[in-house]
Symmetry: C2
Subunit: 249 residues, 2 copies
DNA sequence: CGTCCCTTTGAGATAGGTCAAATTCCGTGG
DNA sequence: CCACGGAATTTGACCTATCTCAAAGGGACG
């Protein structure tokens, strides 16, 4: 916050590509063996010295942190293809817990930095990742600052949907791997509130549920409207207004 | 959030040093000429192509972003010595606005990256900065998630105080350069709520005001208590519990 | 001395939290 | 294939922190 140099970060490369194999930071992991973690197990512990970075091959994880008063903060979720634990100094700030059974590839920082010496491109990827995370974090912050409970939930569902489902349209099914509690702890709400928000979406015919974890989009436009201002854009992501337009204010 | 690789970031180097001249990322700027910006002027615009990074030599700036509905989000504040605009691709995500008159040094990315080629140390500093910002952002998020209005305000005051005043104790004076509106937009509250929280701190003898911008700490322990769980630590910042202790839960 | 802007205070409205209970889901065993 | 039990989800009733709207100080500056 009032810490040094908070801002002025760039937007992420226009169309964020992040398939498991193809693009940037994942590439480094492809030749590592995969480890398995059962649902509920912890991949890395908050507070432990950080030695490795990870790539999630399959399944989903949550990144969380427990406060002294027992409150749990979930900073985010990781899905197949995601890279995490990029911090190559000191300690992990969050635990990564398997939500479902999952498989991860592990790469030690030693190896990672060794790699970087050969090709500075790899190092740039790390930096790139950090920037992307920072950007994401900023959106998250925005979410917390100015969105109502309903907006947060709608926004969350859309984002998860897009992450899993590339192209959302009416009829798209979204699978929410995480329990309501996790969503609540992520959005800074209570389980009850999350439920009620979802119920409202259902009641208004914006989406349909088959079981708590599977939902189908019925009216994607309504859904978008309910995300509040900072719209969840389609696949082609435009910067919105030209900067000049905003200077007036 | 549910974006790739959200977390597992390390904690910042134990004692964060950031005097204007001495430490890391500032060094690169020392030989650049200083430009002046009057209070209210904008150093860089949200949405503009990002070309330069900046170091604030004197004064304070806010990093902000205006949403379509007119809501303003303040991501943070910068004080003398802080570096910002580190994002060296695409566009600035936030505007940096001078709160008071201030002076900044500017360094083009071209020059910055050129520097990096000679000494990878400089490049590492940038990465380091990014990580630090990410860490800060996470604290910010935590703040938004689980703290009450009173806690947020107390926490905010303490943080600004520490940023400016190295060692806070009873009798320390804190100068809040930014108006209440800025604090509100930063903490996700309304001006009125911020006022009331401050009034309460005053009423309870925890701090004293001389004019809206100057406050003196009367009871620093009470102040700390009011920050809620994620304590604002003293100058020597310990990681808290050993990691092992937390594994129980 | 008046105006404008920022801050503070007051009174009422409301979104979301809390506590408690009903319901659904889903794995396990008969 | 069906019944059972614990966990997760959903719903309800009520309560409180924070927002909203409105108005009253206070300082700086012309």
């Amino acid at each position: 916050m009032y810490t040094s140099s908070q801002e002025c970060l760039r937007e992420p490369p226009s169309a964020p590509k992040r398939d498991a194999s193809t693009s940037s930071p994942g590439a480094v992991f492809t030749h590592r063996p995969a480890e398995s973690f059962a649902a509920g197990r912890v991949v890395c512990w908050e507070g432990d010295p950080s030695r490795d970075a990870f790539q999630l091959v399959e399944g989903s994880v949550r990144f969380c942190r427990v406060q002294i008063d027992g409150h749990r903060m979930i900073a985010g979720f990781g899905f197949a293809g995601d890279v995490f634990g990029l911090s190559y100094m000191e300690r992990y700030i969050f635990s990564a817990e398997a939500i479902t059974d999952c498989r991860v590839r592990r790469l030690s920082y030693a190896r990672l930095t060794a790699l970087s010496d050969n090709s500075s491109a790899d190092y740039a990827q790390i930096t790139e990742q950090l920037r992307q995370q920072l950007h994401e974090m900023q959106n998250q912050l925005l979410l917390m600052l100015h969105k109502s409970a309903d907006e947060r939930v709608a926004y969350f569902i859309m984002r998860v949907g897009q992450r899993l489902n590339r192209e959302l349209r009416n009829g798209s099914e979204i699978r929410l791997a995480m329990p309501r509690t996790d969503i609540a702890d992520h959005l800074g709400l209570t389980v009850e509130t999350v439920c009620r928000s979802i119920t409202r979406l259902k009641r208004d015919g914006v989406l349909a549920l088959n079981g708590p974890a599977r939902m189908t989009i019925k009216d994607i436009d309504a859904m978008r409207r309910r995300c509040g201002d900072e719209t969840v854009h389609g696949a082609d992501d435009h910067p919105g207004l030209p900067a000049a337009a905003r200077r007036a204010g």
